[in-house]
């Protein structure tokens, strides 16, 4: 059973601000979904190995090369940034001065 407290906790983890209306809506909709997905408990998977990669690839490596033809220039890497300074993305400070 999913509760309002769960929704608020998860929204905080996912950095989503929800309105009161959204909380109510997601609570009822996701309760139905969570109930539905719980049907997996009907299956015994005690001795089943989980899928880690569906085509079975393991430890993919590439040769080291000096050149990367598709490497972006600094300016194109920054072309969508809202604010830049000296070739870096500029963001608001997250720690206070103390």
């Amino acid at each position: 059973m999913i509760t309002k407290k769960d929704i608020l906790h998860v929204a905080k983890l996912a950095k989503l601000k929800l309105t009161e209306e959204e909380i109510e809506k997601y609570l009822s909709q996701l309760s139905a979904v969570v109930e539905y997905i719980s049907k997996l408990n009907e299956l015994d998977t005690e001795n089943t190995v989980p899928v880690s990669h569906i085509t079975g690839l393991t430890t993919v490596t590439e040769e080291d090369t000096k050149e990367n033809k598709r490497q972006l220039s600094q300016s194109s890497a920054l072309q969508n940034a809202k604010s830049t300074k000296n070739g870096f993305i500029k963001v608001k400070a997250i720690f206070s001065g103390e």
Partner: protein, 474 residues
């Protein structure tokens, strides 16, 4: 030449025989776009000026180089559209969402690069459910795309704009992505051929991620030949996508004329139980009879965990989504996270919940184990048969708004298609007829990396039925 109902094959013949020019092809598509885009809401962004310039230059190159140019550039001069989830250099890419509504990628996705190198001309970016989250196209932050066979109905999603663009001759091929249904469902709802390749057969690099262990990079075309032709270009290893597979790419178009006599075709009994529109069941059974008449051997197979596939999918996929969408922080680029649409928020909350402390084992790990069981179902079935044939959708294209307030019902639209993504195998939607003038599709499903078998059977069925010639009256 009738430019308004062309296939890629026809267009290449026309260019080789000088019956048409590249600029005429491109202009004919833009004329259709002008006429239909307002009505159908297909394109988010157009690339008209560049496309026209490129077409003129390529016409000159064609005169100089002659038709041998098609040996090096198999899609030379072919007008195509790209789903908005694909990064396109200096062409706005929003993933159908408002949160990156002003994002202009500095690079091309590998598939876009390959299509450009093959000579294709990009006309624009097509509408889609934002981030690929949806089965109807209604979750686009740019408004829903309409089904050209009935404007009140959905065209299927999430590659909604791509399907409608091809079906209404606004381009000759469009790319799509298929994480659970997103190429095959719109193909079924719009009378098209839609490929979901094997996971890892086509590079995902530069395609904005939805659920990384499921995302398959496919495309929509009118015919099986066109689909095979495009896969010959898009498939293959890419050092930029570590999940792409170092396995030789078949010459898919060479398998199209091969007879299917003696090929063993499995019919999964779990796909023909309650809940399906009875008319769709009847049509699918008639299609299977046609395949039998062509010489294939029909056998019943069982995929016993089918009933658990949706639950498995709706744990693993939202989990991966919540992780992938965490990079949209609104700090470096794009808008604040509150700008996410309702469906993206719903999936982020669900995925964060199933991954959160105390629930991981109960949900994510459990679902990853069930994923093994579902894959084993298919592995076992393919010991007895070469391919599997099944319906694509349990219902006809539904009305816009019909399922909008009931996400669980909307999710269940994918019931026949999402098990294929869980198993990482390929599936091809081919048109299999009409009910009340609405298209119905059928899936041809094969073992991993056996796309050639899908094309072989799809092509035999298509030659017999030719449903692709039934255009919407629009």
């Amino acid at each position: 030449m009738d430019l308004e109902s062309l296939t890629i094959k026809d267009a290449i013949e026309g260019l080789k025989n000088k019956k048409t020019s590249i600029i005429d092809l491109v202009k004919s598509c833009f004329a259709r776009i002008d006429k239909l885009n307002k009505k159908l809401n297909v394109f988010i962004e157009l690339n008209e000026e560049n496309a026209i310039k490129q077409a003129k230059a390529q016409d000159n190159d064609l005169v100089k180089a002659g038709k041998e140019i098609f040996n090096q550039k198999p899609l030379f001069g072919i007008p195509i559209a790209i789903k908005d989830l694909y990064s396109t250099e200096n062409l706005r890419t929003t993933a159908g969402s408002n949160i990156i509504n002003d994002y202009v990628p500095p690079f091309d996705a590998t598939v876009v690069k390959k299509l450009k190198n093959a000579g294709a001309i990009i006309l624009g970016k097509t509408n889609e459910d934002a981030w690929g989250h949806g089965s109807s196209g209604e979750n686009s932050d740019h408004g829903p795309t309409k089904n050209p066979y009935d404007l009140e109905r959905v065209p299927g999603g999430s590659s909604s704009g791509s399907a409608v663009a091809v079906r209404t001759n606004q381009c000759l091929m469009a790319t799509g992505t298929d994480t659970g249904s997103s190429v095959r469902l719109p193909a079924a709802f719009c009378n098209l051929v839609g490929l979901k390749p094997t996971y890892g057969r086509v590079s995902r690099y530069g395609v904005i991620a939805m659920a990384s262990s499921f995302d398959s990079v496919g495309h929509l075309t009118k015919t099986v030949y066109d689909s095979a032709k495009v896969l010959e270009i898009t498939a293959g290893i890419d050092p930029y996508d570590a999940t792409s597979v170092r396995k030789e790419v078949d010459h898919y178009t060479e398998f199209l004329e091969k007879p299917i006599k003696g090929l063993k075709v499995g019919i999964p009994k779990e796909y023909f139980v309650g809940g399906m529109d009875t008319k769709i069941e009847k049509l699918t059974r008639e299609a299977i009879k046609i395949i039998e008449k062509l010489g294939a051997v029909i056998r019943d197979v069982s995929l016993p965990h089918t009933d658990y596939a949706m639950a498995c999918y709706y744990i693993l996929v939202p989990s991966e989504i919540s992780s992938n969408l965490s990079k949209f922080d609104g700090i470096r680029y794009g808008s604040e996270r509150e700008t996410f649409g309702a469906e993206a928020k719903r999936r982020i909350i669900l995925g964060t919940y199933t991954l959160s402390s105390g629930y991981y084992d109960a949900y994510y790990l459990k679902a990853a184990k069930v994923r093994s069981l579902i894959k084993q179902d298919f592995d076992n079935a393919f010991k007895d048969v070469d391919i599997i044939v099944a319906p694509t959708s349990p219902s006809l294209p539904f009305k816009i708004g019909e399922k909008a307030n009931d996400p669980l019902q909307m999710y269940l639209s994918d019931i026949f298609v999402c098990p294929i993504n869980i198993a990482g195998i390929p599936s091809l939607n081919v048109p299999c007829g009409f009910i009340n003038n609405l298209p119905v599709g059928m899936q041809i499903i094969g073992p991993q990396f056996e796309e050639r078998l899908l094309y072989q059977v799809g092509s035999a069925f298509e030659s017999e039925t030719q449903f692709y010639k039934v255009h919407p009256k629009i």
